[in-house]
Each structure stands twice: as C-alpha cells, then as structure tokens.
Symmetry: C2
Subunit: 187 residues, 2 copies
DNA sequence: TCAATAACTAAACAATCGGTTAGTTATTGT
DNA sequence: ACAATAACTAACCGATTGTTTAGTTATTGA
C-alpha cells in the first residue's frame, strides 16, 4: 500500500457533472474540469481514463441524481396526471442553482445526435425507450385507449418532453407552464 | 484598380451556411470553412472580417433561403391550418440533402443560449418575437378567442416549433408527423 | 509599358485542446 | 526505520484553434 487519495471520486464527479450539464461535452475543457473538480489532470486521468470517461461517469451521476424523481413517477398511480407532474419535476430540476441547464440527457442527446459515439448513443437510446415505455404504462391506466392511440400519444409525449427540455434553456417559467398545460389538454 | 476577386461572396457564404447549419458555430472550424467555401483563409478574412462575421452572414443567407416559405405562410388565409402547414414546411426544409440539420435558427438559439454574444442573441430574440406575432395573427382568424387564449396558444406554438426543430435531428418522420398532428388537435 | 494595387498563397502566430510523463511527496507493511 | 508504492505537482507533448502577415501573382489606369 501507499499514499491515500486526497479526493473522493463521487464528489469530484458530481462537480464535473454540473459543468457538463451546463456546457455540454465539447464546450467543457480539461482545464475547466481541473478547476471545478479541484484536482489535477493526472488525478482525473488516473481515476477516469480520459475526458470521455469523466463524461460517462457524469451521466451516471446525473441519472442517480434524477432517480428519486423517476421512482416517484414510476410508483405513482394517477395515470396521465402523473406524466404531467413528471414534466413539471423535470423542468424544476434544471432550475437549481439559478442557471437554467435543461435536462442533461436531452442536452447530450442533441449534442451527440450526429456523432459516431456508440457508447453514448446507446445509453441515450435506451433511456428514451424506457421513458416511452413508462409513458405507455401510465397512459394504459385509461383502458379505453387502443394500441395505436397509445403508441401515438407516447411518441408525442417523448417528443414533447425532448422539446420542453430544449426550450427550458431559453424560455421563461410562464411560457414553460403554458406549454405543459396545453400539451396535456387533450390526453 | 487591381486584380478581380475569383469568387462570389454570396456563393461562398451559402456553402459556409450549410456547414454551420449542420455543425453549429463552435464545431465548424476555419479549416472546414476554407475547404467548403473553396477559398483561402486570407480571402475569408478579407471578405467577412472573422469567423463570427462569416456566421452572421450565413444566418442572413439562411433567412433569405427560408423567406419563400415564410412569405407563403404570411400571405395564407387559412388560420390555424396555415400554422400547421408552416410546421410541416419547416421540417421539410431541414431534410434537404439527406442529412437532417433541423432549423438553423433554432440550432443557433440553443447553442448561444448561455452565451454573451449580444449580436446573435438579439437576432434570435427578434426572430422569435416576430414568429409569435405571426402565430397570433393567424390564431386571431378565429374571432372567438380572447387575448389570454391567444397569448397562451401562441406561447405554446413557439415552444412547440422550437422543440420540433430540436427533435427533427434525432427523431424519424413518422414520430415527427404524429407530434405535429397531436399539437394541432386542440387549437 | 509599367508602377500601383488588390487578390492570392503559404507559412507562421499565440492560445488552447486532450493527453502524457519525469520527478517529488506521502503513506504503507514489514 | 526504510524500501515499496501510490498520489501528487508541474512541465511538457503534438495537434488544432482562430487569426495575421510576408511574399507572390494578376489586373488595372495612365
């Protein structure tokens, strides 16, 4: 054995996550990461391999952070009304710390849309798929809906959620609220 | 007098525009611009000052390119149905040349959302404002709608348009179509 | 015809990018 | 107490970023 680490990997990743969340992958430099994480490049590379590794861990950290909200959504039993609440919760989580950062998954999805990065793309696709399935599950609580309607409405909701997350970075609370209310008016 | 320019500024800007449209501002390098525009860095700087200048001109070029579609929308008289058609036209314009590039204004709006670039931000804000006013004008054709409803629905549509443009980069035609149809179901 | 001048080429600029490495410091088990 | 070793610092790597500039080529009016 030898010297102990002077930092906690989970702690520094959370700091890195906020940087990526706000600025995306390309617009976050190793220099910024050093400063924000409070550790040296050497330590970053020793712990996470490379910049991409820091990003992947940051994404996991984000999913951990949003897990509570997700579980609340999963375990709820109000049907469509739960989806609406989930939309409101998703928006609220990006408002923390003054700066509006949107949804990190959506930001990543957009930034990597034209990329060849299979690791990230697969993570994103899997996330979107499970989101759609969750929506279908909630929509099914209204048993009058047939399969085609379920698919169409779930597709609509995934896109609405995606667009909403993009919009939160540029629009104000009132506009966001109007949007959510209108979205759920005929579901 | 002296030597003539061996290139046409409008022609090379159109080529630059496609690069920015697809890759955004930061992910388009001067090297890529040189290659795509077919002229030397010296000529680019002589004609447009700097990279930012090339981008501003590219944005103008994009607005010129979409002017036809906009005029069609302005001059139509079908109310909400015209807005829906405008949504479809907006999506279609990004599908040209195989690659899905979304809406250049929306892409720019998103990329510069956290930026300090006042020149770009003002252009974007002015664009969004005039879009909202156009929506209100079309919505007004249904005279039963009061001012509050008009505002709310216009806000909804601006966000829906914004989200739609973001989504076109990652979703397929069928999903996009479902989204547009659902959006206009209760307007 | 020829000096003036604008357009061009190509090399170089400093700054920054992600990533590496030689050398120093601290902690360990023996 | 001390060799072994992991964690750390800081300088450095080559490549690329946006931008500039010295030197060359082509076209002009006189």
């Amino acid at each position: 054995m030898a010297r102990k680490k002077q930092y906690n990997e989970e702690e520094v990743i959370e700091k890195a996550m906020y940087l990526f969340w706000r600025n995306g992958y390309e617009n976050t430099s190793m220099q910024m990461l050093e400063k924000q994480m409070g550790i040296n490049k050497f330590s970053i590379y020793a712990s996470f391999g490379n910049k991409h590794g820091v990003f992947v861990e940051s994404l996991k950290c984000y999913q951990e952070k949003t897990k509570t909200m997700f579980d609340k959504f999963k375990n709820a039993s109000g049907g469509v009304e739960d989806i609406k609440q989930f939309f409101y919760d998703s928006v609220a989580i990006g408002y923390q710390q003054g700066f509006e950062k949107g949804c990190m998954v959506t930001n990543t999805y957009n930034e990597f849309s034209g990329s060849e990065d299979q690791i990230i793309k697969e993570q994103m696709a899997s996330f979107m798929k499970s989101l759609k399935n969750l929506f279908i599950e909630k929509l099914k609580m209204d048993s009058t809906k047939n399969d085609e309607t379920l698919q169409k409405q779930a597709n609509f909701l995934v896109l609405a959620k995606h667009g909403l997350a993009a919009a939160t970075r540029v629009n104000d609370k009132k506009e966001i609220e109007d949007y959510i209310e209108m979205t759920f008016k005929n579901l």
